[in-house]
């Protein structure tokens, strides 16, 4: 029981971080960013290169991941999403663009970082073991704490900073924000960069535990979609709840249903569909057409 | 005149909030009845309940004595009670004529499969739709814009398009949602004439929800006034104009609009 709880918190905190970036981008621009998982993977590889290969301190490597992804995000928004959104008759066209970018990033990852699974040395050694009832390696505990701190910092940023207020205004109503004097183009770019940066940050954090390989991208995106659906699209608190709920569903499902093997995910998926059929806008979301 | 449409003790609650409380009134055949009230009086909610776009919490709406509340909107439409929307609710990328043709859905005799295979009935339907559309557009004075795309139309025409779409279903009762909102005096007068001719020449009973007092006074046979979700008055325009409660409800904020 303690173990399930701990696994749930640990999974939930990292999932919530992944979902945050996705939902932020969605809230700002109505873009379902298929490339989110690839951005996460790039974050992992950048941290791997700096920390694992070149021996740069871990924190610095994390910062490099964030910076790299923020730049990538900003460039993608400015030169691809912004013009496509302007020129397109339907906003769904951005889905095609996002998928194209996902392919592109996949190709780049393969060419630059290679096909192998990569890992970095543990940042902290040792395992916390409470009578075999609760086992949690220290590095996981550290990452979990860091993830929660990042989430808190992000919420703080959104709540109290000028940028955060502008972003929230933008998310709520683009036109109204524009009338209020928010530079919509600039803040769209900042928001996209921020969302991409979150993906990079969580990628960098998790590379210390799970390692990284180029195949993680697509799967991560799909998981993030699920969390966003559970919580409600485009709502920050929804992303956090979605992450936590999915984390706990996995932790509980894998523990309780292990003897049935293959069906944990099937059940998660099916219950998700039932849940959405009853509550189409997710937990926190507003009905959206 | 017998009551065509009866609103009986209709109540709507959203959580703890009561939007409409125990409202009752009748609409007679071939009459124009307006529901008015200040902002937040519960007009829109009532309107949605009559057209079954939202369920009632309690009470019911009857048409020819048959309950029409808490059904699916399309079923209510099939019974002949059709609502219009405010101007943003249109078929954006259809032309005016296409919109009116689509809206004749209820007049179709052939099945959907019949249209697919192009049966004789379907072909007759298609021809009939076209003729009716042209006739209707001429009646509404919209022939000149029949091939314009809806999202290119100016606001006044959009309202008329809304009425055209509603009329294309050949309704018995037409529910109009704030048909005069945002219009200038001339446009309002045109609309008033239009609504009247709909009733006079097509025999359609009209129930409208409106803000614009002068227009309502001008057009209505009878008026129902709501305030804070309650019915506070019902009667002919002149009765309403002199009703103490109504004057009180509207006092200050919209004095000048009523013209008192």
């Amino acid at each position: 029981m303690e173990q399930i709880l701990a696994n749930g918190i640990y999974l939930g905190s990292q999932y919530a971080m992944i979902a945050l970036g996705l939902t932020l981008i969605f809230a700002l621009m109505n873009v379902l960013n298929f490339a989110h998982g690839q951005m996460y993977v790039i974050g992992g590889f950048v941290t791997y290169t700096f920390y694992g290969q070149w021996g740069v301190p871990f924190v610095l490597a994390l910062v490099m991941s964030c910076v790299t992804l923020a730049i990538i995000g900003a460039l993608i928004e400015k030169f691809l999403f912004a013009p496509v959104i302007k020129g397109s008759a339907r906003e769904e066209s951005t889905m095609l663009l996002a998928a194209g970018i996902a392919f592109l990033l996949d190709a780049l990852i393969l060419l630059i970082f290679g096909e192998k699974q990569r890992g970095v040395p543990k940042i902290v050694d040792g395992v916390f073991n409470y009578d075999f009832r609760l086992i949690m390696p220290y590095d996981r505990i550290l990452i979990c704490v860091l993830a929660i701190l990042s989430i808190v910092a992000f919420i703080g940023l959104m709540q109290y900073s000028k940028t955060g207020r502008a972003l929230r205004a933008l998310a709520q109503d683009r036109i109204a924000a524009q009338l209020m004097g928010v530079n919509v183009d600039r803040y769209s770019m900042i928001g996209f960069a921020l969302g991409a940066m979150l993906a990079g940050l969580v990628g960098g954090l998790l590379v210390t535990i799970t390692g990284v390989n180029l195949g993680m991208g697509g799967a991560t995106s799909i998981k993030a979609f699920m969390m966003v659906m559970i919580g409600g699209a485009g709502v920050i608190s929804g992303a956090i709840w979605g992450g936590i709920i999915l984390g706990f569903m996995e932790a509980i499902g894998l523990a309780v249903l292990s003897q049935y093997g293959d069906i944990t995910y099937l059940l998660i998926f099916v219950s998700l569909m039932i849940f959405l059929a009853i509550r189409p806008q997710g937990l926190m979301g507003k009905p959206w057409g | 005149m017998s009551a065509l449409l009866q609103v009986k003790n209709v109540t709507k609650k959203y959580g703890g909030l009561t939007a409409n409380n125990n409202i009752s009134f009748d609409v007679s055949e071939n009459e124009i009845l307006s529901v008015i009230g200040p902002n937040g009086a519960g007009k829109s909610t009532l309107f949605k309940m009559i057209s079954s776009f939202t369920p009632t919490t309690s009470g019911e709406v009857l048409y020819h004595g048959e309950r029409i509340s808490n059904l699916k909107p399309h079923i209510v439409a099939r019974k002949g009670i059709v609502r219009t929307f405010q101007e943003t609710t249109i078929f954006k990328s259809m032309t005016v004529r296409e919109s009116v043709i689509v809206a004749q859905h209820l007049r179709a005799k052939a099945s959907l499969a019949g249209y697919f295979w192009g049966t004789k009935t379907a072909k007759e339907d298609v021809a009939a739709f076209g003729i009716y559309a042209d006739e209707l557009l001429e009646f509404l004075g919209m022939s000149s814009i029949s091939s314009e795309l809806a999202h290119n139309l100016p606001q006044g025409n959009l309202r008329a398009l809304g009425v055209a779409i509603g009329l294309a279903t050949a309704p018995k009762v037409l529910l109009l949602d704030e048909p005069f909102a945002g219009m200038n005096h001339d446009e309002t007068m045109q609309m008033v004439d239009l609504v009247r001719s709909v009733r006079d020449e097509r025999g359609v009973t009209v129930l409208l929800v409106e803000h614009d007092m002068p227009a309502v006074m001008n057009i209505s046979d009878r008026i129902v006034v709501l305030n804070f979700g309650e019915k506070i008055a019902e009667g002919s325009p002149s009765e309403i104009q002199n009703n103490e409660k109504v004057i009180e409800a509207y006092l200050g904020s919209v004095d000048d609009e009523i013209g008192m």
Binding site: Y10, E115, R140, G211, G215, S258 | -
Partner: protein
């Protein structure tokens, strides 16, 4: 639009001709060998190690003057097709190989792809060397597929037996990804373990292929406290994570798998925790590798920057094709001649010390010789490198 299309078409055409002209410089005749496998996406590691070992070997042959088959000396050209792990693409890839006039193809890497290309390969007279284990591919009436490695139902029993005899293993648990290949391999492994008299304490736990955190997955398995934990058909990406999670959960038994792994990946992903991990490899451990294998590793590393230990196994398919063609030159265009040669073919194994032989096996498993005799080298990981645990033969 038309201008844009034109530009696009022109650009593509230019790139294509540029590429083709570079390959057309060779003086020798060219022998094309195909590769259809996955070189992008999540499973890219499988196909890429495959493709690169072929390319490294081909470059080596071409550099040293080509490969003599009969009276002709050939330069070897590897034609690769990325099937994206999609069986539909794999068919297209096989069609492409037929189009190029290729009769010998390495791959595909997974069960569904291998099954899907069968009709095309048989219709076009292509021998293909998949890394997929379903027996129906190799048993009559199928006759064009040659298993390119040791199947888990062959290696598993030897490993289990070895561990029973030497380590006193009595109970075993299996864990597999929820995907065709690993699940099939798990079922094969479970059957083999039971046949040997091992007690299978857990064989139902599976994980999604995209799992990144295995602690919750492994927790119930660990509760059954097996002596041996078998990672059925584990992908190189997942292996270190599984090992790490199992060890962190306090697992002290033996962990093994029947697929090939890469020492570098294990070192990075699990570090010392991977010590004692048993897997199946080719012949590059110092005890076994011939000078030729060492040179191959060197050339591969020079060419691609980094070696992949999975290539130890995967270098063989190309060698088998070439050696068999050398033994029967007419088989270059006639796969029936190839098939006929397979029954008697024998050549020295250049990658192993001693007198190991290249020959076709599979009579026991498939009833016909449709498997390359790769030495069944069972490795154990220790401090960043593999050590040979034991070597066995498949018949």
């Amino acid at each position: 639009m038309q201008r844009r299309t034109l530009i696009k078409v022109a650009l593509t055409a230019v790139t294509l001709t540029a590429l083709q002209s570079t390959t057309a410089l060779a003086e020798n005749s060219v022998l094309k060998i195909g590769f259809v496998g996955v070189t992008s996406g999540p499973a890219a590691a499988w196909g890429i190690s495959n493709q690169r070992s072929m390319e490294a070997r081909a470059a080596w042959i071409n550099e040293t003057g080509g490969y003599k088959i009969g009276d002709t000396t050939y330069d070897i050209e590897i034609v690769s097709f990325d099937d994206q792990k999609d069986p539909k693409r794999a068919i297209a890839g096989m069609e492409k190989m037929a189009q190029e006039g290729i009769h010998y193809v390495v791959g595909p890497n997974v069960d569904d792809g291998a099954a899907a290309v069968r009709p095309v390969a048989e219709a076009n007279g292509i021998m293909y060397f998949p890394y997929a284990f379903p027996k129906s591919l190799y048993q009559a009436p199928a006759s064009n597929a040659v298993l390119g490695m040791v199947a888990n139902y062959q290696s598993g029993p030897s490993i289990y037996k070895h561990l029973m005899e030497n380590e006193g293993v009595k109970t075993v648990a299996f864990i597999a990804a929820n995907e065709s290949d690993p699940l099939s391999q798990r079922d094969g492994g479970v059957a083999a373990a039971k046949a040997l008299g091992l007690e299978v304490v857990s064989d139902t736990v599976t994980y999604q292929v995209d799992t990144t955190d295995f602690t919750p997955v492994l927790t119930p398995v660990m509760r059954s406290r097996p002596d041996l934990l078998v990672l059925s058909g584990v992908s190189p990406a997942n292996a270190p994570q599984l090992i790490r999670s199992a060890r962190e959960l306090g697992f002290e038994g033996i962990i093994s798998t029947e697929t090939a792994q890469d020492a570098g990946v294990l070192a990075e992903g699990a570090g010392d925790l991977a010590n004692g991990f048993i897997s199946v490899g080719g012949a590059s451990t110092p005890e076994l590798a011939s000078p030729m294998m060492n040179e191959f590793v060197q050339r591969y590393t020079d060419m691609f920057g980094e070696y992949n230990d999975e290539s130890n196994t995967k270098v063989y398919a190309l060698e088998y094709i070439l050696e068999t063609l050398k033994a029967k030159p007419s088989a270059i265009t006639d796969v029936e001649a190839f098939k006929a040669t397979m029954d008697t073919f024998e050549a020295p194994n250049p990658y192993m010390k001693g007198d190991a032989k290249l020959r076709y096996v599979g009579m026991t498993s498939f009833g016909q010789r449709r498997q390359v005799a790769v030495p069944l080298v069972v490795n154990v990981y220790q401090d960043g490198a593999f050590e040979t645990l034991f070597v066995a033969e498949v018949d």
